[in-house]
């Protein structure tokens, strides 16, 4: 019974969180600014990281959450702060799948505006380090 209530709540919560997203606009911005490299379904290609069923892992820590905005593809994209926040929230809902293990607080335009002032220069090593940190926090729990 408790599981059923939790499930219903999860459905409703997801619906509420998605409230601020215009899915057509978000998908269009994803197509124009992300899809070329990350592929239509977020599966990536070659050296381009896979987002599908994976990108939510970063939300486990504060630095990881910030990383998704500071990564150059986000930070220096031609999208406005509000559009970038929307497309990131859309990616978490539509592409991250089961990799989201924490209660997701949607990105706001203000948060995105602040974080994208500090784009990352050296991404590959920083990303690997972040993922290692997240993995070690999770194995300790």
């Amino acid at each position: 019974m408790r599981t059923v209530i939790a499930f219903i709540c999860l459905l409703l919560c997801a619906a509420v969180a998605a409230g601020d997203i215009n899915p057509q606009r978000a998908q269009f911005n994803y197509q124009m600014s992300c899809q070329g490299c990350h592929a239509p379904d977020g599966s990536g290609a070659g050296a381009v990281p896979r987002m599908r069923d994976h990108v939510g892992v970063f939300l486990a820590t504060a630095a990881g959450r910030e990383y998704l905005v500071r990564v150059p593809g986000s930070a220096v994209s031609a999208l406005s702060d509000a559009d970038l926040a929307e497309v990131l929230n859309w990616i978490v809902l539509e592409i991250a799948g089961s990799s989201v293990q924490v209660a997701f607080e949607p990105y706001s335009a203000q948060e995105v505006a602040r974080l994208r002032q500090h784009p990352l220069n050296e991404v590959a090593r920083y990303r690997a380090q972040l993922l290692a940190e997240i993995a070690s926090t999770q194995s300790r729990e």
Partner: protein
């Protein structure tokens, strides 16, 4: 009075036999899941229009064809493939550059993915360079001057396709 008692007893017993105690949960769950699947039905999708098949006019073997508004390269339509497919013996790059073109048939803007076909040397036929919306290489995701044969086993460029991947969003 006895008749009424009997009737109600019978009705109640029948109802109890037919319905389960968790029936309400089942119906509620069914409704929740069911409501979610309505947008997946073909009727709803037809209303939203299939972006892969817009009404079209023009010759895909000509540089003037509407989907080629930002192209820079050889048309796969002239190289044994089509505007949507690679010629035999080449591999379609999963990494592409993406822009929008206006379809003169319906006046709408569509999202076009210029997937290059790779693995053979340059096709050499139907060189087109329209470059609308092309940006300098400091905007690497919006420039067509770099080799987009990325993520393929060979980086040799053969020709370009122009695939419709969606309808452009326009604020009303």
């Amino acid at each position: 009075m006895k008749f009424l008692d009997k009737l109600f007893e019978q009705q109640t017993r029948q109802l109890a036999q037919r319905s389960s105690r968790r029936g309400m949960l089942k119906t509620l769950g069914g409704l929740l899941v069911g409501a979610g699947t309505i947008p997946l039905l073909p009727v709803a999708r037809a209303a939203a229009e299939a972006p892969g098949h817009p009404v079209e006019e023009g010759d895909p073997g000509s540089c003037d064809y509407w989907r080629y508004c930002a192209i820079d390269g050889f048309l796969c339509s002239c190289c044994g493939g089509s505007e949507n497919t690679c010629p035999p013996g080449t591999e379609m790059s999963p990494v592409t550059w993406i822009g929008t073109c206006r379809n003169p048939a319906d006046g709408r803007n569509y999202v076009i993915s210029y997937n290059d076909c790779c693995g053979k040397s340059s096709c050499g036929a139907c060189l087109c360079q329209r470059d609308e919306g092309d940006r300098p290489p400091y905007r690497p995701d919006k420039t067509n001057d770099i080799n987009w044969c990325l993520g393929t086993s060979s980086a040799a460029y053969h020709c370009s396709t122009a695939i419709v991947v969606g309808v452009a969003f326009e604020e009303k």
